[in-house]
Amino acid sequence: MLADPFELHEPASIAEAVALAKRYCGDVRFLAGGTDVLPGLFRGLHTVRHLIYLGRIPELHVFDPIRGVFGAQTSMASLERDPVVRQRFVAVSLAAHAAAGPALRTSATLGGNLLVDTRCTFYDQSRFWREANEGCLKADGTECRVVSQGSRCYAVYSGDMAPPLLALGATVDIEGLEGRDSKPLEDLYSPGGDGRLSHALPEGALLVAVRLRDPNLWSSYSKLRARGAPDFPEGSIAIGIHETDGRLDHFRIAVGGIDTRPLVMNEITRPWLGKPMSDEVVEATVESVGRRLHPVANTALLTDYRKHVVTRFLRTDLARYLALRSKELTSSTPAGRVG
């Protein structure tokens, strides 16, 4: 498998990068670590003739865990290893550690991870394979191969970094055609509902940085994968919690690896704000979250199992929080696991 020929551009500034993206609109991709873009190119999943390499833009390399600012080009390896990140944003560190494998993490970036393509057994294949299977909705075909008569695509959002950042309430800086904008990370993933795209970033817009404000949240990240490495999530869950005077003032849950976009469970968690975390909250939350999980059979593991494990993770992670809370250790205590 070889990629079709393409031209590589190496801008030195954000302005230059956005201008290039505009010039080649419709025929261009940003190239960060390339660990997702390049396999896609080799497999003919995208056939652009221009790649804009982001590695030479200094602003994208900002790495300031004290202020909670992470440029899009931050490597997964540095998020995984940095002691300050590990201490202040536990779930971020755990998620970075759980993504892909060690070699990939040295080139893979945070920005690329947030915008990684959705995945499906029938899509992540070579051009030869897909043609022999007459394609599907997401690439060169007219029917979904997973859900018969499906009019939408169910490909799975499979990035590891989005759930913890969503649970921690991250915002993102975006450089678009109309200039710089800052918005909640979840805006990047709404409205969702169709796996043909993994995010809602307009074409040509550049993700500049991710910002995390509050370093005092308790957080966890648990991931289900077929093997210990380097597999994508088959279901993952991140939790961010903070209580002041025994009452929840931050309670967010995000699920990855199940639906076409990361699922933020605000409507489930919001009603509990102002109340103390308790067994009752855990029970009700686990049950409501479970009802929102509808995986389809387009990854390696069985769907009922994926659903079971995600709710199981949620229960054990919340229980761990409760246990720590009773010992009055409410912040920055490592939690979460990779299942």
Binding site: L2, F128, E131, R227, G228, L302, Y305, R306, R312, G339
Partner: protein, 772 residues
């Protein structure tokens, strides 16, 4: 003894490989070289109605386009089942089969041109189930199958009073096993470089385990006399059986080179390697064991149905091996085997590490565990009661020589603290045992009529004092270069650094039947020892000429030839003296396998001059909530005879355990009908380093009387026992028997839930009878 044999010498080619200086086939280039690409069929079973080639011919940089009609002669690793062609002729039999090939100035140009080739197919009925292949079909995959079936091979064997054994047995256990296909997943994808030159000679460099079989196939298909074909084997990045057959792309590269007069290189993509496959067969079988009230085995009955895919490959041997290799290491008085291998429209299966024996071994060892439970006996004790003794003959007339299986079992039992753990660990934790048995080389060569030696080694030494070893045996990463160097250096009493192994080149190396069936150490090792002894005699004679002392008095040691009375000359003095008569010295040694086996049909399948034995214990933890099996530790007691290099043996054991656990826990060639769903190393899940358990190797074998310096095999036998040892440990942990692989966490979780609904998880009953 010079102490080189038996010591932990690092691989002689290790520094080259670790530093990236070793040259693999894909590293090789020649001036004017072209790149080949193969057009593959999107259909699994279809007639080729037409092919439009002209567009590809007109693409820039294209030098040749060929189809199966250029060289339609069929080939196959076994002369009795030649049913592969370099490219499809008339019809395609599996998705991914080559239908045309292009040679162009760059890989990109070749691929672009390949995409321009339009083929029109007429679909035929597809067969995905060997059961259907064994019944009447409407469309035959190969014309030569019997009647209107797609059967490739059927074996029936019966020894001893089977019916009576099962009628009178106190206990009968049955295992219905189901195993998907798995594949080798060697790190290096297949690659070939072929150069047909104007002097009507063909030279082919290929990543192959058996240069000799490739040599023959090239000659036959391309109709070039064997003496004008030369095969060179560069470094090989793993084979595991997947590079043992002559393969279509090797012939295609040669054909393209002949067509263009230029060198042509083809490097397969990982996906193409999956379509090439020739991996372990998907199998379903029913295995029954009968025993008396004391636990003596009385009968063994096996019915196996094997999915061969679209070609024979080694399949005839596989069909026999599924049965005959399952009897040892046990004494079985009655044995019946029925095996069928059907063609299907899937990539062909073939030989893979521990060829033909893994799936049956699994069910056999699980059956013994079940039997032990029925008898309320410790499974170690039950095994002890039924082992073959050394120097005996099996029911199917295999000659057994050295056999340390008892020591293996004792060692793994002691080291694992079995007696304090079996049925005594808390629910969720368990320990299990399984044994193994494998050939040290197939006794009957595939090709040789009239009989020639299985292996020949030549040595050469010139004025520089370095000994060059010429052998046709392939080092495919397993370390055979190191072993042959150790043997030669040991006999000649010179340092390892004075020995070098020439690259395998059929122009200069004597024939060796290659690296498969775990034959190299035993057979090439014996040949090397003879060659070195022949060389030593020349040195001793020269020493006599120099010193006047009788040659027989000289011993080779530390680079010198020494005789009693403080007489000592350097080996180089002797070499130079001997060279006065005829220049550089040469010597030769050969290994001929003995005549073995019974007189019945298929009697030679599974015969070997020696067998390895094994007894493994595995300890596991089952996460009942998540369905995950964590293998904590494996105690691997192995009888490879005398380990010539314990470090390499341990490497083989660890690698085998890694590979076996991959098959047990995750690997599966996943099909939807005839469509392979996971032809990539991300979705085809070999074991990751995270899952690899601690392994303690226990090398407890005794010297084998016929092996070189007492050695037997260690390349394949270490694999099979680990799968059932873990499965039996899982049973000990949670009381669940798994007879279908792989044990992925979701499937384990489902089974656990069912079990919980049916009354909860608990430890199986403990044995009543004492372990001994």
């Amino acid at each position: 003894m010079n102490g080189i044999v038996g010591s932990r010498v690092p691989l002689v080619d290790g520094p080259l490989k670790a530093s990236g200086s070793a040259l693999y086939t894909a590293d090789l280039t020649l001036p004017g070289m072209l790149h080949g690409a193969i057009v593959r069929s999107p259909e699994a079973h279809a007639r080729i109605v037409s092919m439009e080639l002209w567009r590809a011919m007109e693409e820039p940089g294209v030098s040749a386009v060929i189809t199966g009609d250029s060289y339609p002669r069929s080939f196959g690793v076994l002369p009795i089942t030649r049913d592969e062609t370099m490219l499809a002729v008339g019809k395609v039999r599996f998705r991914g089969e080559g239908v045309a090939a292009v040679a162009a100035t760059s890989p990109e140009a070749a691929q672009r041109a390949a995409r321009q080739i339009k083929v029109i197919y007429e679909r035929l009925p597809e067969y995905e189930d060997p059961e259907a292949s064994a019944a009447t079909v409407t469309e035959k995959i190969h014309a030569h199958s019997p009647g209107m079936t797609n059967l490739q091979k059927e074996v029936r064997q019966e020894f001893g009073p089977v019916e009576e054994a099962f009628r009178t047995a106190a206990h009968v256990v049955t295992v219905r096993g189901k195993f998907p296909g798995v594949t080798h997943a060697a790190l290096e994808p297949h690659a070939v470089l072929a150069h047909y030159t104007p002097d009507d000679r063909l030279t082919v460099w290929s990543s192959t385990q058996v240069p000799h079989y490739l040599h023959r196939a090239l000659s036959e298909v391309l109709d070039i006399p064997e003496h004008r074909v030369r095969v060179i084997k560069p470094e090989v990045g793993g084979g595991f059986g997947g590079k043992g057959d002559p393969m279509p792309h090797e012939i295609v590269a040669a054909a393209l080179s002949r067509e263009t007069g230029r060198p042509v290189r083809i490097v397969l993509s990982r996906e193409e390697v999956f379509y090439l496959n020739h991996g372990r067969h998907p199998t379903r079988h029913t295995l029954k064991l009968a025993a008396d009230a004391e636990g003596h085995l009385m009968g063994f009955d096996l019915d196996a149905l094997i999915d061969g895919g679209a070609a024979s490959s080694f399949g005839t041997v596989t069909t026999y091996y599924n049965g005959v290799l399952a009897t040892g290491p046990y004494r079985i008085p009655a044995f019946r085997y029925h095996g069928r291998r059907g063609y299907t429209n899937r990539p062909a299966s073939g030989a893979m590490r521990a060829h033909g024996s893994v799936n049956t071994r699994y069910s056999m060892e699980v059956a013994i565990d079940m039997l032990a439970e029925e008898l309320r006996m410790d499974p170690m004790a039950l095994r002890m009661r039924n082992f073959l003794s050394p120097h005996t003959t099996t029911i199917n007339e295999f000659r057994i020589t050295s056999n340390s299986v008892v020591r293996c079992l004792e060692a793994s039992r002691a080291r694992s603290s079995w007696d304090t753990k079996y049925r005594k660990l808390p629910v969720g934790r368990g320990i299990g045992v399984a044994c193994g048995f494998f050939i040290s080389g197939s006794n009957s060569p595939i090709h040789f009529t009239p009989p020639f030696p299985q292996s020949t080694v030549h040595l050469k030494i010139d004025v520089d004092g370095g000994v060059t070893i010429h052998s046709g045996a392939s080092d495919i990463g397993q370390g055979s270069k190191t072993i042959v160097s150790q043997i030669v250096a040991e006999v000649l009493g010179i340092p390892l650094a004075r020995v070098r192994v020439a690259a395998v080149d059929t122009d200069s190396a004597p024939v060796d039947l290659g690296s498969y069936s775990s034959r190299v150490t035993f057979m090439m090792g014996n040949a090397a020892r003879c060659a070195a002894e022949d060389m030593l005699r020349q040195w001793q004679k020269a020493a006599e000429e120099i010193t006047g002392r009788p040659s027989a008095e000289f011993r080779a040691h530390d680079g010198r030839l020494e005789a009693p009375g403080n007489i000592s000359i350097s080996y180089l003095e002797a070499v130079h003296q001997a060279m006065r008569h005829h220049g550089a010295l040469q010597s030769s040694g050969a290994y001929e396998s003995p005549s073995l086996g019974g007189k019945f049909k298929g009697a030679r399948a599974g015969t070997s001059p020696a067998y390895s034995f094994a007894a493994y214990v595995a300890e596991v933890e089952v996460d009942v909530d998540l369905g995950r099996i964590h293998v904590k530790k494996v105690w691997a007691a192995f009888d490879c005879g005398r380990p010539l290099n314990p470090m390499l043996v341990e490497g083989q054991i660890e690698g085998s355990i890694h590979m076996g656990l991959g098959q047990l826990l995750g690997e599966e060639m996943r099909y939807r009908g005839t469509r392979l769903m996971n032809p990539s190393l991300l979705e085809y899940r070999t074991l990751s380093p995270v899952e690899m358990p601690e392994v303690e190797c226990l090398l407890v074998g005794e010297e084998d009387p016929e092996g070189p310096f007492g050695a037997k095999e260690a390349g394949e036998g270490p694999l099979p026992p680990v799968l059932p040892a873990v499965a039996n440990a899982v049973y000990d942990a949670v009381g669940l028997r798994f007879t279908e692989l792989p044990l992925t966490p979701d499937r384990v979780w489902r089974a656990l839930r069912q079990k919980e609904r049916g009354g909860g998880l608990q430890k199986p009953p403990a044995p009543k009878v004492d372990a001994r």
